[in-house]
């Protein structure tokens, strides 16, 4: 690790690399650039603080649901995790340390929301506009997240709700929930963390559920002092634990390939959990999912079901018809008077806002290139967009394992690409269209027969525009690394003459 700060690059001249976003993806990329001694890069972050997901989602009960020793960088193990599933503040703190300890915190420009990024073919530069000024770079890495744009439900009258309304990722700390009547819209990963916490202080809680999730036990526990001491003194013990967590998550992937024996075993675990915790037959029925397990994220909680057993917590399964004043009216005419509505309704995942702000060759917006759904070669490069690399973009979501593992594989790829371009002294790397199409055909084939396409549920994994699996990686996480972590230059050199290719490859070696 370098011990001296890298210093701030000269303001007006282009840098080698601009990273957009300071979440896990952008900070991981920055770390690897810094560790390789590359001093010419900056990070543009729209907020005033690092952390991305873990800065924004500070709702009560927020925590990761992949164990922390796995849900962290392999190159920055943390012996201090307090629990198996660390709470949000701890994860945010971990990410703050990454930027500081890896000596590139001063290269992050905060309050710098990228409003446009345009490729200048003649200069072979990306020109990036932000409220903090314009920047340019040879290489642009976007790491803006795929669960970073809060999505509110489309409900008549919701915006005129007379009480307080906010999204879980934009938690309104100033709204005191003590003694209030609170509506929670949604029953996904966030809602099941939020609701039990809110129920502790609110006078009444109504959960508006469109479709019941599968909920499994959450094997959470605190790490003992002996364990933390061991992690500090023998770092390899962290690695062993990581491996155990990783492979046990990978095992769950087999369920997603629709093998009935495994699907029914997994379903049984979830239904047993429900039956142990909920006795009332009517409540059980409403909380029983009606689709194949794994089709949407399988959730982990020990306190979600028990929260419903309390007198003041209600489950509403009739759809919401409209909102009138301070009342939510359901499709069967029922109504709930509320003081606060918390929308735990997820994020924009298939139509990413940043795509409307990136313009490639011939000024083509990425959103237009992706008008039928997003796609990228090796999940990171797009034809028509030279020297652009996307972290956590198309086909990078996992239903079963750590997103950080995925981002690390992409970062390895991008580092190799950046190094290759420099060594080969090429102005730009642009992936061939055929290579991109062939890659997507391969992803389509892998997705066939998976529960996401055939499980009979509507989930954010599938793009409604083309019915394709555009957000998820349809294979095990380990396979993601095998397929997407190793940079091969050939698909970027198809427009050159054979001889030039040879020369370039020789020069780069």
């Amino acid at each position: 690790m370098a011990s001296t700060p890298l210093g701030y690059p000269a303001p007006d001249s282009p840098v080698d690399v601009i990273i957009i976003g300071a979440g896990f993806g952008g900070l991981g990329m920055g770390t690897q650039l810094a560790r390789e001694g590359k001093s010419s890069f900056i990070v543009l972050e729209r907020a005033e603080e690092v952390g991305g997901t873990w800065r924004d989602n500070h709702y009560p009960g927020a925590a990761c649901d992949v164990p922390s020793h796995l849900y962290s960088f392999s190159f920055r193990p943390n012996p201090e995790w307090s629990r198996m599933f660390a709470p949000q503040e701890e994860i945010l703190d971990y990410l703050r340390h990454v930027a500081r300890d890896e000596n590139f915190h001063e290269r992050i420009v905060f309050g710098a929301e990228v409003t446009s990024a345009r490729w200048d073919d003649a200069a072979a530069l990306w020109n990036v506009a932000t409220p903090k000024g314009d920047f340019s770079a040879k290489t642009l890495v976007t790491a803006v997240g795929h669960l970073s744009e809060p999505k509110l439900p489309n409900i008549d009258g919701l915006s005129d709700f007379s009480g307080s309304l906010f999204h879980s990722a934009e938690w309104a700390d100033e709204v005191d929930l003590v003694g209030k009547r609170v509506g929670v819209i949604g029953s996904g990963a966030t809602a099941i963390q939020v609701m039990p916490e809110v129920a502790k202080i609110a006078s009444e809680v109504v959960v508006f559920q469109r479709s019941a999730p599968y909920v499994t036990p959450r094997p959470d526990r605190a790490y003992s002092d002996q364990e933390k001491g061991l992690f500090r003194k023998m770092p390899e013990s962290i690695q062993e634990l990581r491996e155990e967590m990783f492979w046990s998550n990978e095992e769950r992937y087999a369920q997603r390939r629709g093998t009935p024996t495994l699907v029914s075993a997994a379903t049984q675990v979830a239904l047993d959990h429900l039956h142990r915790q909920i006795q009332d037959p009517e409540l059980r029925r409403k909380l029983t999912p009606d689709y194949i397990i794994g089709c949407k994220r399988v959730l982990k909680s020990n306190d979600y079901y028990p929260a419903f057993v309390q007198e003041h917590v209600h489950l509403e399964t009739d759809g919401i018809e409209r909102v009138e004043g301070n009342r939510v009216i359901t499709t069967d005419g029922g109504s709930h008077e509320l003081d606060v509505i918390v929308a735990c309704t997820g994020f924009e995942t298939t139509d990413l806002p940043i795509a409307y702000r990136i313009f490639g060759r011939n000024d083509l917006p990425l959103s237009e290139r992706w008008s039928n759904g997003m796609q990228a070669y090796a999940t990171t490069a797009v034809h028509g967009f030279p020297n652009l690399w996307i972290i956590n973009g198309p086909n990078t979501g996992l239903g079963h394992n750590s997103a950080v593992y995925i981002a690390e594989a992409q970062i390895d790829y991008i580092m190799a690409a950046v190094n290759f371009r420099e060594a080969a002294d090429l102005p730009a790397l642009e992936v061939a269209e055929e290579a991109e199409e062939a890659f997507m055909d391969r992803v389509d084939r892998l997705a066939e027969g998976t529960v996401w396409l055939e499980g009979g549920c509507r989930s954010w994994y599938v793009d409604h525009r083309n019915g394709r699996l555009t957000t998820l990686w349809p294979e095990p996480a380990y396979t993601f690394r095998q397929v997407n972590a190793h940079f091969e230059p050939e698909p970027y050199l198809t427009r050159s003459e054979d001889e030039t290719v040879e020369q370039v490859l020789t020069a780069a070696r």
Binding site: E244, E251, A254, R257, T259, P260, T261, L262, P476
Partner: protein, 280 residues
């Protein structure tokens, strides 16, 4: 329920036995075939319920349910059953054979006597000839089998899984593992074979590219034994998984990746090589 929706279940007469198999054959199937051989007290479903579907996403998978005679069991009894099933299902094609535990000894025996049938050989938690440590466990097993099968269930659970695996589970989960233990017909015969089987004279004649997989925390087949397999088979590579003996239960996903990488190109890793740990 079938082990996999694509699996055809069938029976083959081999010698005096009717041997069941599970085969994911498809019309005009040109995929490489992986043959799975289970271990003591198991069958295809109990030992490979997770590994089978993982492999089936990429390969034609053929798993055999070994049949145990009342007496006179030898490795040959089993390896002839496997050879018969292969000949019936995949005639005149070479196959990738994966054997687990006692199934690894059967696979090695098969490889030594039918060198041309095998495209590759993977031996998971196998051994060469039971040593004193293993024979001691075998004697305890026999005594408990005759006197106290409840205690045997606990003993077997304790020896089958690695200590990190058991320690990482709740009491209730461990109890469930204990209660799930069954002792099917023929298991005592198989235990005798475990004590007496001897591959030592055969290893040198195995020519197929071989991968030996060891469980780092295996108490039933300590790594000393898997290393001897590695030492004895000329064309062998070695891989270690942080698991007890029950590798297909404890680490099926990792086992799958290791087998998949090996089977995809058995020659790509030179003989004698020790596979690096997979860093995650």
């Amino acid at each position: 329920m079938k082990i996999h929706p694509d699996a055809n279940e069938g029976l083959v007469r081999v010698g005096g036995f009717t041997v069941p198999f599970h085969d994911t054959v498809a019309p005009y199937d040109a995929r490489a075939t992986v043959v799975l051989i289970h271990g003591t007290g198991g069958n295809a479903k109990t030992h490979f319920h997770t590994l089978f579907p993982m492999l089936a996403a990429k390969y034609r998978v053929l798993a055999v349910d070994l049949q145990t005679p009342r007496e006179g069991l030898s490795l040959g009894t089993f390896s002839r059953q496997v050879a018969g099933v292969i000949e019936h299902c995949v005639p005149a094609r070479s196959v990738h054979v994966v054997g687990y535990s006692l199934g690894a000894l059967v696979a090695a025996d098969l490889a030594a006597s039918n060198p041309h049938t095998l495209a590759s050989l993977t031996l998971v938690a196998g051994w060469t000839k039971a040593d004193s440590q293993q024979r001691l466990r075998n004697r305890i097993w026999m005594r408990l089998f005759e006197t106290d099968q409840d205690l045997l269930r606990e003993f077997v659970t304790w020896t089958a899984y690695g200590h990190p695996f058991l320690a990482g589970r709740s009491e209730a989960d461990v109890r469930a593992l204990v209660e799930a233990r069954v002792f099917p017909d023929g298991i005592a015969e198989q235990m005798k074979l475990n004590a007496n089987a001897d591959l030592c004279g055969k290893l040198a004649s195995i020519t197929a590219p071989t991968l030996v997989v060891a469980g780092a925390h295996d108490q039933m087949v300590p790594t000393r034994q898997t290393k001897l397999l590695f030492g004895g088979i000329p064309n062998a590579r070695y891989a270690v998984i942080d698991s007890g003996h029950a590798i297909p239960q404890e680490r099926p996903a990792q086992l799958f990746q290791i087998i998949n990488e090996f089977v995809t190109d058995p020659g790509s890793v030179p003989a004698g090589e020790i596979r690096e740990r997979i860093f995650v």
